[in-house]
Symmetry: C2
Subunit: 342 residues, 2 copies
Amino acid sequence: MADADLSPPDGPVRTITDLARLAGVSAGTVSRALAGNSLVNARTRERIQQLARAHGFQLNQMASNLRRQRTGVVGVAIPLGHDRRQQISDAFFMTLLGHLADELTEHGHDLMLRRVIPDRDEDWLARFTGSGMVDGLIVIGQSDQFARIEAAAAHYLPMVVWGNHQEGQRHCVVGTDNRLGGRLAAERLLAAGATKLAFFGDTAPIEFAARFAGASDVAAQAGVPIIACPTPLAVDRMPGEIARHLARHASRIDGIFAATDTLAVACLKQLHERGLAVPERMRLVGFDDLPVAGQTTPPLTSIRQDIAAGARGLVDLLLRRLAGENTESLVLPPELVVRATA
Amino acid sequence: MADADLSPPDGPVRTITDLARLAGVSAGTVSRALAGNSLVNARTRERIQQLARAHGFQLNQMASNLRRQRTGVVGVAIPLGHDRRQQISDAFFMTLLGHLADELTEHGHDLMLRRVIPDRDEDWLARFTGSGMVDGLIVIGQSDQFARIEAAAAHYLPMVVWGNHQEGQRHCVVGTDNRLGGRLAAERLLAAGATKLAFFGDTAPIEFAARFAGASDVAAQAGVPIIACPTPLAVDRMPGEIARHLARHASRIDGIFAATDTLAVACLKQLHERGLAVPERMRLVGFDDLPVAGQTTPPLTSIRQDIAAGARGLVDLLLRRLAGENTESLVLPPELVVRATA
DNA sequence: ATGAAAGCGCTAACAG
DNA sequence: CTGTTAGCGCTTTCAT
């Protein structure tokens, strides 16, 4: 009767119960053994883990998560506002995402990425936080969703947002001091000899608005004019818009503050084509200090955002919120990196 | 006795059962109503959906998934081989990821992103596919994991890989014909007057090896020398290595094929600094045709990979595999984009 | 058209 | 130290 199992076709071992039968113990014991629980006899634990490995057994996370009421997954939402397609392919956001993946992996969390189009889906936030699929949420970019995020923050603690900090806001945000960054940019342009400034970029997104505001502060203080040249981030439309602005305003400006390096690089090209020498005839400062900034000719002066530090901050704060702490926002200092364009 | 519910403090309605009690029906009915099941009376269905909306009710996906044995989530794994940190921040991979997110969202799937370090975790693949957390898997880049991926493909159907196609391989792959791309690059260099070639890039990754092989084919056929200059992709080490190679070989070459545009841009800068005119003294062709290619001075000639088409292909094939079909691989044609560097 | 009941695969008391 | 038991929140037969 007692037929020893020489382990011929045992059939696939998919569940913890299969494994239990094979090991001649109960499912509970297997669960404990696999979790490395010290309450289980060291030898049986080792035996079970051996068996699991031999059969390539993998715990069903779905079931485990449901039972334990936690998932080990952090949601990352990228809301796409007006500018749609652009944001996500923007080098800055992508780099931030890469660092986030690093950090979260490091802390044993998976990352569930979701692009959301707010005007098409009113409660993208509730859908994510209420799904039970994620323990917490990181939102990359406020886009035009400031109000909705504020509202969600009232009930939902484990959420951290990359973006701009507003006086008295409720949601926890990590981001660069954009206004200060704008100031640094304008100051540099003036120091490099500029006397008539222009800002290239969309001023609707709150981050860009702050950069423009900072530059305007400095310009006003110095009694220097600054004109806003609205420029989309979409790669295909960017060069045309820049060309148009330059055709109209080039004669009246000698210093450009570009809202992002991507824009600055495009400006550089247009300036070159129009024969406007940089920095002699036209000074140029970008924002972000992407890797490309060091590669252009001439190399681009830019305002550096420490993306890695930003990612670390986002994850650190989120983890603390997951632990119940009501954390403060984190504002990172921008840094002027002087190269050759201003 | 029959106290009507004027809905005072009903307490939070978190589960389908809460909702059922509120609606005065059974949980089963609520489940059907929320699923839009036509078997439920149209009026009660509407009433329940109303109630759900009013209370901001969200279905617990975890439980739903467990029961239905599907998740609506597609895993995306990025294996980091030797070059570690680099791959993920590489503009090409990031762009591909962005398009993937687009496509998957479009088809109603979420995306679970996981960076894996194969040498640190032997069964990263099994851990992902067996977790029950994802319905299928997209692997971005074969890195040095060709064998492991082949092995997994034997048991696991719903997996598609971005990378290079090998004769007779088992796993389903989507990627550019790198060898052909290499050929196009070399042919262009020769057509532009080059007579002594160099390849800049790491030849260990299988994709790059194929690019080099293609270029070598052409060089051999034309009786022209080509030397391999191993160059890491890491941003910090790249310029130094390029400078070293140029110092050693610049006099003996007049055409460079760079394995990626990122590398090509760095080359351009180094060439400029050494006073080597492009394309007069040195022709240069990149690979990928990233947005930056159009922005350099002079604009970069490059071999275009259609990233959006690649993402569409990956998702399309994966969906068909999820439906049980055993799909063929998809090889995309590269395209020479002539600008000014060759 | 709806309710009752069984269970997806796992974990965590609670007993022994 | 280990087995038994009761669910996590949902979906889906099977009855009615």
